[in-house]
């Protein structure tokens, strides 16, 4: 199994957020998790990425034959987990290019691959940026600093395509995007998809799934997955909302 979440219960500040959650993802699959606000979707994404604010009360997560809880945030990232943030944070003064260069090399180091030099990296970055319709001028700026909402999301996707993760988690990447930006972002995801990597797409709206076809759709309500199935579920939600699942 590629990613296996078993009976996961998570608390934050004494509040129960995830309750006995189960989810399995195989290589090459695209999963979508839909749910109303406050259902625990983003918590799941952050628990997977290793954010330290949460208390794991119960459960196990296996990722590529590792007990995920044995790995810290950066080790998970280096193992191929990527989280596209819902609200990417600004880091003033830190230029995009060296930032991503360090990121890719830390991953290569862990995988015992040779580090990529400045020049090759600059080339790679430029070609990926132009694939995603990102202006080269943007690469001279500081990480997320002064970016519009759409630019931030696009930059997340650029990072994803550079780091080429095994598991990409997209946390409400569609929120705040107009239709053009949404297309650029989803195109990026579709280009990156192969039979060897997997996607976990967290979304509130069905709209995103018009552009990315998931193999599985899960409905999350109140900290648990209450229903799983194919893309027909997304259409049900589109029509009737989350009401009937609650």
């Amino acid at each position: 199994m590629f990613l296996e979440i078993k009976d996961l219960s998570v608390k934050i500040e004494n509040k129960h957020i995830l309750k006995s959650l189960n989810l399995n993802i195989n290589k090459g699959e695209v999963h979508a998790i839909m749910g109303p606000n406050g259902s625990g979707k983003s918590t799941l994404a952050n628990v997977l990425a290793g954010k330290e604010d949460y208390e794991i009360i119960n459960g196990k997560i296996n990722f590529k034959d590792n007990d995920l809880f044995d790995l810290n945030i950066e080790e998970r990232a280096q193992e191929g987990m990527f989280l596209a943030f819902q609200y990417p944070v600004e880091i003033p003064g830190v230029n995009i290019t060296p930032f991503l260069h360090s990121a890719i090399n830390s991953k290569r180091k862990r995988m015992n691959d040779e580090e990529i030099d400045n020049l090759s990296f600059a080339k790679l970055l430029k070609s990926k940026a132009s694939d995603l319709g990102i202006n080269i001028d943007m690469l001279k700026r500081s990480v997320n600093t002064g970016f519009s909402g759409g630019e931030k999301k696009r930059y997340e996707i650029l990072q994803m395509s550079i780091l080429n993760p095994d598991l990409a988690i997209l946390d409400e990447t569609d929120s705040g995007l107009d239709i053009d930006a949404l297309k650029i972002v989803t195109d990026g995801v579709n280009k990156l998809k192969t039979k060897d990597n997997s996607f976990l797409i967290i979304t509130h709206y069905q709209k995103l799934l018009d552009y990315i076809k998931p193999d599985y759709v899960h409905v999350m309500v109140n900290g648990s997955i209450v229903k799983s199935g194919g893309s027909e579920i997304a259409n049900e939600i589109e029509k009737d909302g989350f009401q009937k699942f609650q």
């Binding site: 950066e74 990232a77 943030f85 944070v89 003033p92 003064g93 930032f99 990121a103 830390s106």
Partner: protein
């Protein structure tokens, strides 16, 4: 840095041959303590003219009546001035570590991280080296080029002998010996430093630093530097070395004076990384530095850029006296304190002339149990019509046992003056760390990246080759206190 090291080596080997170290060493052995004899000894050793000795003795008599300035946010034990050597001849091999294995391994680790070659490491760490480098020819080439332009660049000692008119006219003209006790002390006992004179209309074609100075002796504990930029000239001067220097001297009290005449510009950059003491706050340099620039002429400009990461105590306020109309003063500073370091640093901008402008960008980063204070004074004198100042002080705290303080003083006697002051204090942001780590960077790498970003506004003011090293240095200074 390379050539500086080479020069050190060079001077060392020269001195060794000159003085030997078996028979004559006793004559060179200085006596501890400060009195008129000590000063006469120094002056004699430096073969100074009598007027220079008189100057020193006057400063000494002022010093005797003074006490140390106590207003800084620093605490340290009483300095016993009679327990210090004021003239240190080149040391013989017996006092030095014999090889790198006798040097603190952490120091070596830092050198390796900065990518400093082995031979240079030895010099920096004070290891006895018996190698002669062929550096004279390199240095001479530069010196020749500078001489063609009429630029004088030599040690202050050489200048006292060869250019007495300039020395008499300018030495102590910006920092009078009686200014405060450390300037009086320095004036009485200074032993080395640089002298630069840029003639009218000349733009110095290269960054000047001890790098190119062939007479570079070991920069002493009482350094004296004097830079004069004549009308319409330009010079950029680099001071210091990014690698930490092992040094047995506890007290350092340097004086640096800059004079910019009409339309002249001086850019002065420093990276200070003296030994900061160990993790428990033992040892380390007390660095009491007075740096002051005088924009004497119209449209002149003086710009100070400093990266301060070393020393147990830093007491330093590079200042500008904006006397000429339309003159400009700038101060860019990064001060990082870790473990038990204390820094009280900032600037003084004194607006005298019309339309004078000053800009202050200060970035303080505190880690461990350190204390970091920005102290700045901006004053506008009565005739400073339409003068302006912009001040930005940002402090970043890493951890919760350190302190950051901002102490601005503003004094305006002219109501057309405009002052803008922005200040911020922030803790390193957990969301930024999470974001960086999610991309695969370690906690330490993430902190270093964020701090470097925080300092960027200042680091980009440094000359190119210095900036890269300074960035590495910033990362190294942060180590051991995060996580």
């Amino acid at each position: 840095m390379n050539s500086e090291t080479l020069n050190t080596l060079d001077s060392y080997s020269k001195n060794k041959y000159k003085y030997g170290f078996v028979t004559e060493i006793d004559d060179e052995k200085p006596k501890k303590g400060l009195n008129e004899d000590t000063i006469k000894f120094i002056s004699l050793k430096k073969k100074e003219p009598e007027w220079m000795l008189d100057w020193r003795l006057k400063a000494y008599s002022k010093w005797k009546k003074m006490t140390e300035p106590k207003w800084a946010n620093l605490s340290f034990p009483e300095i016993d001035y009679q327990d210090i050597y004021y003239y240190s001849a080149p040391k013989g091999f017996e006092n030095k570590p014999k090889d790198l294995s006798e040097v603190d391994p952490k120091l070596i680790e830092t050198y390796n991280k900065l990518g400093i070659p082995l031979e240079e490491q030895k010099v920096l760490a004070g290891v006895a080296v018996d190698v002669v480098f062929d550096s004279v020819s390199v240095a001479t080439t530069y010196k020749g080029e500078l001489e063609k332009l009429g630029i004088i660049f030599c040690s202050i000692g050489e200048a006292i002998q060869k250019h007495p008119d300039l020395i008499k006219k300018y030495l102590g003209s910006v920092i009078p010996p009686g200014d405060h006790s450390f300037s009086a002390l320095n004036s009485a006992v200074f032993t080395d430093g640089s002298f630069v004179y840029i003639p009218e209309g000349v733009k110095c074609p290269m960054e000047l630093s001890t790098y190119f100075r062939i007479n570079a002796e070991n920069t002493g504990q009482f350094e004296r530097t004097l830079i004069i930029a004549d009308k319409g000239s330009y010079v950029s001067y680099l001071e210091g070395c990014t690698a930490p220097k092992r040094d047995d001297n506890q007290l350092h009290a340097a004086n640096v004076e800059l004079i910019a005449l009409e339309d002249a510009e001086i850019k002065y950059s420093t990276v200070q990384n003296w030994y900061p003491g160990d993790e428990d706050g033992k040892g380390g340099i007390y660095n009491f530095v007075t740096k002051r620039g005088l924009c004497a002429g119209k449209n002149s400009k003086i710009s100070w850029t400093q990266v301060e990461t070393g020393s147990a105590i830093t007491w330093k306020y590079p200042s500008c006296i904006l006397k000429g109309d339309n003159s400009i003063g700038e101060f860019y500073s990064v001060a990082i304190t870790n473990n038990f370091q204390q820094a009280d640093t900032g600037t003084k901008m004194t607006h005298i002339g019309k339309n004078t402008k000053s800009k202050i960008i200060s970035k303080g980063i505190s880690l461990g149990k350190s204390q970091n204070t920005y102290r700045g004074e901006v004053s506008f004198l009565r005739k400073a019509e339409k003068a302006r100042n912009y001040t930005q002080c940002d402090s970043l705290l890493v951890g919760n046992q350190c302190g950051a303080h901002t102490v601005p003083y503003i004094d305006s006697k002219n109501n057309t003056a405009v002052i803008e002051h922005e200040a911020s204090t922030s803790k390193i942001n957990e969301d930024q760390l999470y974001y960086c780590r999610q991309r695969g960077l370690s906690h330490e790498e993430a902190v270093s990246l964020i701090v470097n970003g925080f300092c960027k506004q200042v680091l980009q003011e440094l000359p190119m080759e210095f900036a890269v090293e300074a960035q590495k240095l910033v990362s190294i200074s942060l180590e051991g206190s995060v996580g």
